[in-house]
């Protein structure tokens, strides 16, 4: 059975990637499961989707904990422990990173037992990151080596149709680009062994005593604790204020920032809190002086 995880951020099309790959494998004669990991949908936040494919019925459910292939659509996520990208990777699992850095860098930093490949994403413009899913699905299909290009493109047509003709056309291009990008590595992902229920390790349960309601019910006794949550890691674009052109009209950028991430000092100078700014770029779009520009997060000095 093939077990694949696609990791990305909400809005980067990982659910679509799993659907495209799932449909393509189905067209290639496999029985298939594909599903986004359930959670509240949050644009920018880490999420993942899984695909299982086998020649016979699939009895496994839920999280893929022994992946054969893990695709990471956004290199920045590798720094986020909460994204759980490396979970369950062993000597036979292949990690494919999509972005700018070479495979050797990740191999060195992550010290994985299994192979690492990197696929450059230069064909995808900054404004079309939501098409990453098609690109990743094409790459994954080629790595499995059991999906013909025609099946892949048919799957794109089926899964992207509701987004309109332009989206289908661009998704086809990018799926094919992903597919061609891994030509030399076609078929390098093998099927993992079938795992029966008997082979599964029992969970590490911890017995908890039943406690009185006032102890057992979680309650937070101090406000503003979310300051510890670094939503700045969600950012792919960083807004940068050019203070030479800033007119100190903080009631625009600071007021519109959904995340209260722009504070204002006594003389009206705005400061962006990069630990929490999610990079929505609402401030950039609204700044009347065009004093805010966006720089790609990767490579931006932090």
């Amino acid at each position: 059975m093939y077990r694949i995880r696609f990791h990305g951020r909400g809005g980067q099309g990982m659910k679509t990637a799993s659907r495209i790959l799932g449909s393509a494998l189905f067209l290639a004669g496999y029985e298939v499961q594909d599903a986004p990991h359930y959670g509240a949908e949050r644009r920018g936040a880490p999420m993942h989707a899984v695909v299982r494919a086998a020649r016979g019925p699939i009895q496994e459910r839920g999280f893929v904990d022994r992946p054969d292939l893990v695709v990471v659509a956004d290199e920045g996520l590798l720094a986020e422990a909460g994204a759980a990208i490396l979970q369950g990777l062993d000597h036979h699992s292949l990690l494919l990173t999509v972005g700018r850095e070479p495979a050797a860098l990740w191999q060195d930093r992550l010290r994985l037992a299994g192979p690492v490949l990197a696929l450059a994403d230069a064909v995808i413009a900054a404004g079309e990151r939501h098409f990453l899913g098609a690109f990743c699905a094409g790459a994954a299909a080629r790595l499995l080596g059991v999906v013909a290009l025609a099946c892949l493109l048919q799957a794109v047509d089926d899964e992207v149709a509701s987004f309109g003709e332009a989206a289908v056309a661009r998704s086809r291009e990018l799926a094919e680009a992903g597919w061609r990008g891994l030509e030399e590595h076609a078929g390098s992902v093998g099927e993992g062994s079938a795992a029966g229920a008997s082979g599964q390790a029992p969970p590490d349960w911890i017995e908890l005593q039943a406690e009185a309601g006032d102890l057992a019910a979680p309650s937070i006794h101090g406000g503003l604790s979310s300051i510890e949550v670094r939503t700045g890691l969600w950012r792919t674009q960083r807004p940068v204020i050019d203070y030479a052109h800033c007119r100190r009209c903080w009631w625009v950028c600071s007021e519109f920032c959904p995340d209260s991430a722009i504070s204002v000092d006594a003389d009206g100078t705005p400061t962006i809190d990069y630990a929490h700014c999610k990079g929505c770029l609402v401030c950039l779009a609204q700044c009347p002086a065009h004093a805010i520009r966006a720089v790609p997060e990767r490579g931006a000095s932090s």
Binding site: A40, E41, R43, F163, S226, F256, C280, A285
Partner: protein, 302 residues
């Protein structure tokens, strides 16, 4: 009216009640409106939150709020507000200093407010409960993947209904029919109008509705940076009339001088794409325009 503390944009609050780290999507107007409202109300506010996107606002042990927050079942926020108000009144009667009293505010999505939460809210208004009822209306069940709600507009694509054939319920009119102390529509893209209304509501007692249209990049399918722009278009096309009800009278607070065609607003959002592609659906575009025209034609002087 001159009693407002908010005459010009620079009168808007400079300090922020919320801190960063909240788990809403990048570019979420619901979160933007919450900060705009709380910045006017101040920290002596207790929030009663019905299940929806904002129920993740406080995810143990993290909270972006200064004050307290109570989570209720989806339909039950107004009932929760009654309990909270009663508890505060009891403590006042037992000698709690008046300055420790709190403003009780429901925070509700449209799915709850226009649908299953309506009956408890109706009961609370009828009992004259002293509370604010803030609705962030993202026109669907956002937290679960944007299924249709009673606030979904005509023609919008949702995850459950395809292109919606029904018409958005008029929650403002439903509240006004109850003769509440105050009711207003708001939008995050008009912060001065919003601040004036929140300020007015804060000075009144009794049931008070603050109904904010909340452009949702995830559910409506537009780029996160366009949240404010989409809001502006909702007002300029006349789709979202800004108005208030006080002392038995409805006043429009911002009448677009020359309304833009509704399609200027619709075309910006993927949920309406099928009205434009593969070919323009003149009939349905005409229906939406006619409904907006009819609304404004009925106004005195419209």
């Amino acid at each position: 009216m001159s009693e407002t503390a908010f005459v010009r944009w620079r009168d808007l609050p400079r300090g922020r009640q919320l801190v960063g780290g909240a788990p809403m999507c990048a570019g979420c107007s619901g979160l933007e409106v919450l900060h705009q409202v709380l910045d006017v109300l101040g920290e002596k506010t207790v929030i009663i939150n019905s299940a929806g996107c904002m129920s993740l606002l406080v995810s143990y042990p993290y909270s972006p709020l200064r004050g307290s927050w109570l989570y209720t079942a989806m339909a039950s926020a107004a009932a929760g507000a009654q309990g909270m108000r009663d508890a505060l009144d009891l403590r006042l009667a037992q000698g709690m200093p008046a300055e420790d009293d709190l403003q009780v505010m429901v925070l509700s999505g449209d799915g709850a407010a226009y649908g299953m939460g309506l009956s408890p809210a109706s009961g609370a208004i009828e009992r004259g409960l002293d509370f604010i009822y803030l609705v962030y209306d993202n026109e669907g069940y956002g937290n679960t993947g944007q299924q249709q709600s009673d606030a979904t507009p005509h023609g919008a694509h949702t995850a459950s209904c395809g292109s919606y054939r029904g018409w958005k319920k008029d929650l403002f009119a439903i509240w006004v029919a109850h003769r509440p102390a105050y009711a207003a529509t708001l939008i995050g893209s008009e912060p001065l109008d919003l601040a004036r209304k929140v300020d007015k509501a804060a000075r009144l007692k009794g049931p008070r509705l603050l109904l904010a249209l909340a452009p949702c990049p995830t559910g409506w399918d537009f780029d996160a940076s366009a949240t404010v722009e989409v809001g502006h278009l909702a007002v300029k096309t006349g789709i979202w009339p800004l108005k208030e009800y006080v002392d038995g009278r409805i006043t429009h607070t911002k009448v677009p001088r020359e309304r833009l065609p509704v399609e200027d607003y619709l075309v910006r959002q993927g949920r309406f794409r099928h009205l434009f592609e593969p070919r323009r659906d003149e009939a349905r575009l005409g229906e939406v325009q006619a409904a907006v025209d009819a609304y404004w034609a009925e106004l005195p002087g419209g």
